[in-house]
Amino acid sequence: MADIRPSASIEAVESGLAAQGYIASRQIATAVYLAQQIEKPILVEGPAGVGKTELAKAIAAWRGMKMIRLQCYEGLDEAKALYEWKYAKQLLYTQILKDKLGEVLGGAPTLEAALNQLHDFGDVFFSKEFVEPRPLLQALEQPAGCVLLIDEIDKSDAEFESLLLEILSDFQVTIPELGTVVAVAPPTVILTSNSERDLGDALKRRCLHLHIGFPEQKLEERIVESRVPGISQTLRRQMVSFIHEVRTLDLKKLPSVSESIDWARVLVLLQARELGHEVVKDTLNVLLKYEADIEATTPQVSTFVAKASRQNVFG
């Protein structure tokens, strides 16, 4: 155990992701490192806009792999996620080959012999040729491995989870007519969920469970810094502090990291140097997505701005 230096590798993950503009917390980096080491999918939960999907993109970019994305929705099924038979093609081929039937069966003297000969050809129509691979099967077939993002798994039906289980635990799927397809290179699987529906235990058990919440202030500053390079340090610190204050309010939808980044971009565009009462009021709609939320926050703006600039002095 002495020659393993896990912290170094976890740091490698951290810096690798950082190079792609994804500032990962220690826990995220540990999860990515472990997922690689013990070959397990990561189930990422957390509020919208904290960078769950971004994580998959960053991993793919960092490791130079293709990313295959499966967006889940109600009613998603095997035929759309895994594979489907090209029925029309099968049927058309039968029609086209109808004329050839005579040649195939030509030599058969009895009905039984003809049937036997037909049986030999029967499997042709349920072969790889007629399988239409969908994201999950595509992911298994990537020769160089890939990052498989199963996005918003909580939107899918409970039955769909069971469909995933074989892939998640063994990186293989069984197609009844063809047999088992095993992954060429085990894909890195990221599942994301907004916890709209409780996921099954069987699914959770197969994954590392990572919860990404709103980042701490320091981390969020670094995230904004990496995403919006033009922003001054003072403004960055003030706006992040302001957002953290807003998150303490009881709102319908709290501003998340993606909103902070948008807001930072807007502030830079407006060439703001410091966070002022007026600027905040004008741009609050970037940060908050509901009229009711904006109304609830507006009276607090002055206090928060004051707090933010005070913190800048001490922080």
Binding site: M1, I4, P6, S7, I10, R26, Q27, T30, A31, Y33, L34, Q37, I38, K40, E45, E74, G75, L76, D77, A79, Y87, A88, L91, L92, Q95, D157, A158, D198, D201, K204, R205, L208, H209, L210, H211
Partner: protein, 458 residues
């Protein structure tokens, strides 16, 4: 260290983190990759591999902190080395305190525990406690009633017998030293008690909760004490949640099945059998329809509370539920149950029709006149009540008509079978028309009954 990990897993289970062997294997694999050196990474690793919800993460984090703050039980040092060490330490200890210089010879004749206590070496004592706790398998502690036993076992392991002998002999020869030893022993007892309590917190929580729930599940609903009512509600809600997780179906579902070869060929006959259009088999499923009639009269008031709670959860599981409550007369309560929280809904229903004296006959009459047409051949009708109609006309003929119209008629009775037919109970008359009659007096029976009803539609 492996032993330590297993103890941690047990502690995690105690903290309420559901943990299967497969998960602990994953955790061990993960730990073998990251090592033990960095405490925060170790913590993150456990949180990632073991905890599956945000609550569990919090519980596990607390458990981790509690667990790794404990002194790690050290493996007993090798004998020869240990003796030398102890001799040295006890010598050093007996030399240093000034007042004990005259008792130096005596201390050497004392047992190990006495020497250790007099030496007041905290580290040594806590290591000894930890060793004794390991030997007494303290991590098996489950219930708070076991605290005494485990404290006793640990003290025994540490050699309290010998210490008592020493105390007896010292009391005669050196009262001052005996006094010091007695004080030290009291301190030791306190520390051991604390260790045991902490272990109980670590390992015992889940078992205690399970035991309490198990007792509660089997307790008659009508005889629940007021202080247990809240717990019972909690339990029923748990049952309801389990039902929901097991049976709730998303509103929309893919209904396309396999290729329907026959229909495909028929449909494409116009093109000489070249199949341009495909036809698909559709899955058919009975849509669950449930009508629940709940007695909320005075005689079953305590139970009907829980009945209503469960019906409330039925509304969440099954789309098409209509609920009715009655005592003297009957009203529909579906809207109340669907739009309000369980507590509000129950209060409102009780204020509208609750606590009266029950009249099954007129309530059934109300139902027949108002809502009989709601029953279809797919409907399961559930009646929750004790069938005690205060010697009024039971109108079993209406129940017969209900049974004839519906798919199934289920009667859940909070009274035991022995009581049916005695006094004003009309159960024997009603039961002839029921598909299923069940006693339903405890949470467990309630869960099973409802689960059966819902499962029959899957």
């Amino acid at each position: 260290m492996r032993e330590n990990l297993h103890r941690f897993f047990r502690a995690a289970r105690g903290a309420g983190v559901r943990l299967s062997p497969a998960e602990s294997i994953d955790a061990m694999r993960a730990v073998s990759k990251v090592g033990f050196t960095d405490r925060t990474i170790l913590r993150d690793t456990f949180l990632l591999t073991l905890a599956k919800t945000q609550d569990e993460k919090k519980a596990l984090g607390d458990c981790f902190d509690l667990f790794f703050d404990q002194p790690e039980p050290q493996s007993p040092p090798e004998d020869g080395e240990a003796d030398g060490q102890h001799a040295e330490e006890s010598n050093a200890a007996s030399d240093s305190p000034g007042d004990a210089s005259d008792g130096g010879e005596q201390t050497e004749r004392l047992g190990q525990l006495a020497q250790m206590l007099l030496a007041q070496d905290r580290n040594q004592i806590s290591a000894a406690i930890a060793n004794a706790a390991g030997a007494a398998s303290l991590s098996d502690i489950r219930y708070f009633t076991q605290r005494g036993i485990f404290s006793g076992r640990i003290l025994d392991q540490m050699g309290i017998e010998r210490l008592r002998d020493d105390l007896d002999s010292l009391a005669a020869t050196n009262p001052a030293l005996a006094e010091r030893l007695t004080n030290a022993l009291d301190g030791l007892r306190g520390t051991v008690r604390e260790t045991v309590s902490q272990a109980l917190m670590l390992y015992g929580r889940e078992e205690a909760e399970n035991l309490r729930n198990e007792i509660l599940r089997n307790a008659p609903l009508s005889r629940i004490e007021p202080r247990q009512v809240e717990q019972m509600r909690h339990l029923i809600r748990q049952i309801a949640r389990r039902l929901r997780e097991r049976y709730s179906k998303p509103r929309k579902r893919q209904r396309r099945g396999h290729l329907d070869v026959r229909r495909t060929i028929r449909r494409n006959a116009a093109w000489g059998g070249v199949p341009f259009l495909t036809a698909w088999k559709r899955r058919h499923r009975d849509k669950p329809k449930i009508i629940a009639l709940c007695d909320v009269s005075g005689s079953v008031a305590r139970v009907s509370d829980f009945f209503l709670l469960l019906i409330h959860s039925l509304h969440e599981v099954v789309d098409d539920v209509r609920s009715f409550a009655f005592s003297g007369h009957l009203i529909e309560v579906s809207d109340i149950l669907e739009s309000k929280s369980p507590e509000e809904a129950m209060a409102e229903i009780m204020s509208k029709v609750g606590f009266g004296s029950s009249d099954y006959g007129s309530s059934l009459d109300d139902f027949e006149h108002g809502w009989m047409s709601a029953i279809t051949p797919q409907t399961t009708v559930i009646v929750l009540g004790d069938a005690r109609s205060n010697n009024l006309d039971p109108r079993a003929d209406i129940l017969r008509r209900i049974a004839e119209r519906s798919k199934r008629l289920v009667w859940l009775n909070p009274e035991g079978r022995m009581a049916w037919g005695w006094g004003d109970s009309e159960m024997p008359r009603y039961s002839t028309f029921c598909t299923v009659v069940r006693q339903c007096a405890t949470a467990k029976q309630l869960e099973r009954a409802v689960s059966d009803i819902v499962a029959s539609y899957q």
